[in-house]
Symmetry: C2
């Protein structure tokens, strides 16, 4: 038995719908998180990039921090793409404990074909304020059919997400608290770096220790003590919602982190596309 999940997010009253232009330049920048990520896997022509940019234009919604985008048991809805902010998938147990099972970072998409399932078997909630683009099935089909390289890239993206889910299983099953947190931090640094959100060795890190506890399957108290150990070992600096990893190779070694599962290495996919 473990502690109860602490803050149960309230349901998003209504993520205010609004069009892209109202949001100012940052959305254009944000959509490119997806472009940047896909470029880790495949080259993209300007046409490909424009098409990706365009889907971030359609129906943009904003959600405050700590609200549900969709809840377990609801009918599945449209796909969406995170433009900015952090969100997560999570599941709540009858006894109140909750487990965060995945993060959505900028450039992340929900499953391409959730609509095949009728009901959500988990909830999706924000961790920070989030903007996301909602994609109709039609818009998505158009993209997948008209831009084969993009379609390939998005399927790659799905496979990587599945690989991440497997790795979380390994992480929870086989690593102790210290290795476990170190491993998660490595993964986040790699993922944030692939979308250009790491500068030098620093990135924003908005998670509270309580949320971290819900990810790591441990108590918040133990998260606290473990973070102190990591700080004591000089592996991380974590203050004011900013994470610094001064020696990533050491953090990787400490957590037996092997980035292969992120499939971020591009060699072998060249076909000289960039028109």
């Amino acid at each position: 038995m473990r502690r109860l999940a602490s803050h149960l997010p309230r349901l998003a009253g209504a993520g205010l719908s609004c069009r892209n232009r109202e949001l100012g330049g940052d959305v254009a920048m944000m959509t490119s998180a997806l472009v940047r990520k896909l470029l880790n896997f495949t080259p993209l022509s300007q046409g490909d990039r424009d098409a990706l940019q365009k889907i971030g234009d359609e129906r943009v919604r904003r959600f405050p921090a700590h609200t549900d985008v969709i809840q377990e048991g609801e009918a599945t809805r449209n796909m969406f793409l995170v433009l900015s902010g952090w969100a997560c998938r999570y599941k709540q147990l009858e006894n109140g404990r909750r487990q965060i099972v995945a993060f959505f970072l900028p450039g992340d998409l929900c499953d391409l074909d959730v609509l095949i399932l009728r009901k959500m078997d988990h909830s999706i909630g924000t961790l920070t304020p989030v903007t996301m683009a909602e994609l109709s099935q039609a818009a998505l089909d158009e993209l997948l059919l008209g831009y084969p390289r993009v379609a390939l890239g998005l399927r790659w993206e799905s496979l990587v997400n599945i690989a991440i889910q497997r790795e979380w299983t390994v992480n929870l099953g086989q690593r102790n608290a210290y290795e476990r947190i170190a491993h998660l931090l490595c993964e986040l640094v790699f993922r944030l770096r692939s979308i250009g959100l790491v500068h030098e060795d620093r990135c924003e890190f908005p998670l509270t220790q309580i949320e971290l506890a819900d990810v790591m399957g441990m108590s918040a108290v133990h998260v606290n003590r473990t973070l102190q150990e990591l700080r004591g070992a000089g592996l991380i600096i974590l203050r004011d919602r900013m994470l610094t990893v001064p020696r990533l190779p050491d953090l990787m070694a400490a957590s037996m982190f092997n980035p292969a599962y992120l499939h971020l290495d591009r060699e072998g996919h060249e076909r000289g596309v960039s028109e």
Copy 2:
């Protein structure tokens, strides 16, 4: 830190290739595990069923128990379909510990488009003697394009597998040993039942306690003691590789098992197909 994984399977010298007829009638029966499973989601015409049956005919391979079908780091190969026996995905850590991250039961397929990734980020190994059909990309494409209902069913299958992976994350993160094992047993009973491998309240259960430990992320000793608790509570009878669950509802309650994530409920998908 935990105990080392015990038996590291040797690599399959060569899964002997042979054609279906050589295997006798049981393969025909086995392919229908997939048909049976898909019927939980969508009706299938006789043509659909024949097409599915045919893919189990092409290249059938047999593997002894405890051998690797493919190892982490190898180039990805063809898709395959399990015809009989139990296999698993697993990952080995540098320190020797291993985590089983998924089971392959009869009727289970590996990811439809692993080929997009270049290298395996995990290994696949058998737990019992296994027969599987290897599918070329061409054969698969033909199936997906020629039989839309089958294509839909297979995409449903993938989504369910992803949902299972999420549920394993929850299981490892939030449930204690007793609930955790109980939950896994519930899942296996549901999955085996969906392919017709549960009779009354009994099914074959070939896992050793050591393998169970590699699934549950706990020591074999603790698995042993926890199984005894479950037996003591009258929730399971486990002997001679046979599992009996006399009161499934009680086992479900004990593990907070909610089968929704298996998406086995068919209502809402009727279209009266069966010609």
